[in-house]
């Protein structure tokens, strides 16, 4: 029978099907961090059970870590406590642990791929919804709750019904200044934040085929923002070249076997999806959000839509615009920006800093803007230095912080103050996500750069053209 890419990977991992219930699904790789794992370990202790396969779980500290002075003790006692718990739990159960200061430390969804933990055709879970990132490799990867973290620790399985399947195809040539982030924000704006709930998405079409692994990760990362459990892209040469030779990637004979398997991972020509959407990539503009969910995005040159043109209740829409301090019909270009955040598992990789640098090069940070540039990992940080990007940033008046989730969820001190506007390359513009009362405009690293040097929302294409 014809199968989709998703079917092939899922079916291979089903240990048992329960009649009238979920599938028992085996998990190849489990990533944990300090925030959603402590209670799971506590559960193991209470039940008196062990971690079944410690070699399949990897711990990194990221959600709650400071992004400056990481060599000093963590000041917040509660954060310090969580970091200590992650370390002692990892040690106790024999799990590899990349804590603060470790050279492999970084955001969980950045370090997984970097180190070859993420491999095509595997199942990957983590107590973080943006686990969908790893789908870029043709893996089934999704976020789970703490109860499920405990399940994976104790039995390497979770229990979930097989989701429905959706394919989103985007063909065409992307315009100037249009990045993978814009493609994703565009799709979410079309589907809304709940448009893919209950589905697992496959992205297809030449727009994704032509993307780098970094770009594909950005797209898959944002799958959850349209409600999807996850998103995936069939592995190809780009994928295989990326995975080959990384620390945890298979080697020698095992690699040959693995590669042969990777090459079977595609959707059969006549396989059927429960839902399909197709878009023309050439019509996508650089995007920006204006509201309090990632579905509230528009092309940067456009005006905020009227309530009557938006799906959903008017009251909710007005509450959202009220929170943002915006009105229907407002133009986004020219709106004042107070903060710029470049980072997160969505856009905290080397390509994102290259993109940011391409615009700020030879320009200067606007005085009214506070900029937080946070690499996704130490590896990214090192690349930024090696490639000379740090010099460009420094010259333009920017400083680089240390890796971590930072202002993506504002659990540490990197909080945008109430009422302030932040152009962020992260993934959520929910009320208070970047700090109580903070107002977030989600956008690409190019749009973030344009805002950082002009102090207002600016179409990055105008700055790119100046350079040409």
């Amino acid at each position: 029978m014809s199968k989709t890419l998703f079917d092939k990977v899922w079916d291979r991992h089903v240990v048992r099907k329960i009649e009238g219930g979920p599938d028992v699904v085996f998990i190849d790789r489990h990533l944990i961090h300090e925030v959603t794992s402590p209670v799971a370990f506590l559960g193991l202790k209470t039940r008196g059970i062990k971690v079944l396969y410690p070699e399949r779980t990897f711990a990194t500290a990221d959600h709650n870590t400071p992004t400056i002075n990481q060599h000093l003790p963590v000041a917040d006692p509660l954060s310090a406590n969580q970091l200590k718990a992650l370390e002692s739990n990892s040690n106790e159960y024999g799990i590899s642990h990349w804590g603060l200061g470790h050279q492999k430390n970084g955001i969980v969804h950045v370090v997984g791929p970097e180190n070859g933990i993420t491999q095509p055709g595997t199942t990957i879970v983590c107590g973080d919804s943006h686990t969908s990132t790893h789908g870029a490799f043709g893996a089934i990867a999704f976020g789970i709750g703490t109860s499920e973290v405990e399940m994976v620790l104790s039995t390497q399985c979770i229990m979930q019904p097989k989701p429905k399947k959706m394919r989103i195809t985007v063909n065409g040539k992307l315009g100037l200044g249009v990045t993978p982030k814009d493609v994703a924000l565009f799709i979410i704006s079309q589907l809304t934040t709940s448009g893919a709930t209950g589905y697992f998405v496959e992205y297809a079409g030449d727009v994704f085929e032509n993307m780098s692994m970094e770009g594909r990760m950005t797209v898959c990362n944002l799958s959850i923002e349209m409600g999807a459990r996850g998103g995936m892209i069939a592995p190809d040469e780009t994928t295989i070249n990326y995975v080959k030779g990384r620390e945890f990637s298979p080697k020698g004979e095992a690699w040959e076997k693995a590669e042969a398997y990777y090459r079977t991972l595609y959707t059969d020509a006549d396989a059927v999806f429960d839902k399909e959407y197709t878009y023309d990539g050439s019509t996508i503009e650089p995007m920006i959000t204006y509201g309090t969910n990632p579905g509230m995005g528009i092309g940067i040159s456009q005006h905020i839509p009227d309530a009557e043109h938006v799906e959903g209740g008017v009251a909710t829409y007005e509450k959202s615009l009220g929170y943002m301090g915006f009105s229907e019909g407002d133009q986004m270009i020219g709106k004042k920006v107070d903060y710029v955040f470049v980072g997160s598992c969505t856009n905290g990789r080397i390509e994102d800093f290259r993109a940011f640098a391409s615009i700020v090069k030879g320009r200067h940070k606007a005085d009214n803007v506070t900029a937080w540039l946070v690499p996704g990992s130490h590896v990214v940080e090192a690349q930024i230095r090696e490639e000379g990007i740090l010099d460009i940033l420094t010259e333009a008046g920017f400083t680089l912080r240390q890796p971590g989730c930072s202002a993506c969820l504002a659990m540490n001190d990197d909080k945008v103050p109430a009422g302030k506007y932040a152009v962020s390359t992260s993934n959520r513009n929910f009320e208070g996500r970047q700090g109580p009362g903070a107002r977030t405009l989600l956008a690409s690293p190019l749009v973030a750069a344009a805002a950082a040097v002009t102090g207002v929302v600016t179409d990055p294409r105008t700055l790119i053209e100046e350079l040409v």
Binding site: V15, V35, L52, G127, F142, G143, S154
Partner: protein
Amino acid sequence: MAYDKFTVLRSTAVPLPIENIDTDQIIPARFLKATERVGFGDNLFRDWRYNADNTPKQDFILNNATYSGKILIGGKNFGSGSSREHAAWAIYDYGFRCVVSSFFADIFKNNCLNIGVLPVQVSPEFAEALFTAVHGNPAAEIEINLPEQTITLLSTGAQEKFDISPYKKENMMNGFDDIDYLQSIKPEIQEFASHLPI
């Protein structure tokens, strides 16, 4: 973690007719720093419930004594966003045992089922009827009957069936969780794993 068995719940309800209530609203990230599962109910809807100086916001429904009960009725797409199970814990810890909405986000729904909060998905029309009834009469009672899979507005008798998988239903009715089940099939899992590369 063990939770109370769920069979039939009869209670008044708290209406929150806002769409896309995300888990950052249910419990903001800065309250996720605990290493134990205690006290999350205090910070349920923290930033809607309290001002920056920790005084209650009078216009928020949880601060309005007129409304109370073990059932929370939310707007469409309830629980979107982060996978934090803390959101479901906060709801449970506050005293809710059931959330009703016309649409739930996936991970949140799953988390609820894993910890003993029953997510009941109703039609948009039925959700509207519930909001109207409870706003009109905060003492209006709702019955959630898990064995029958029905939700009933007792004042009018209006009723709807809701979906739940037979497996999850049995778990909820007995207070079991998935870990109990998985533990019981561990040899089968180990046999399966022995054929997979690491």
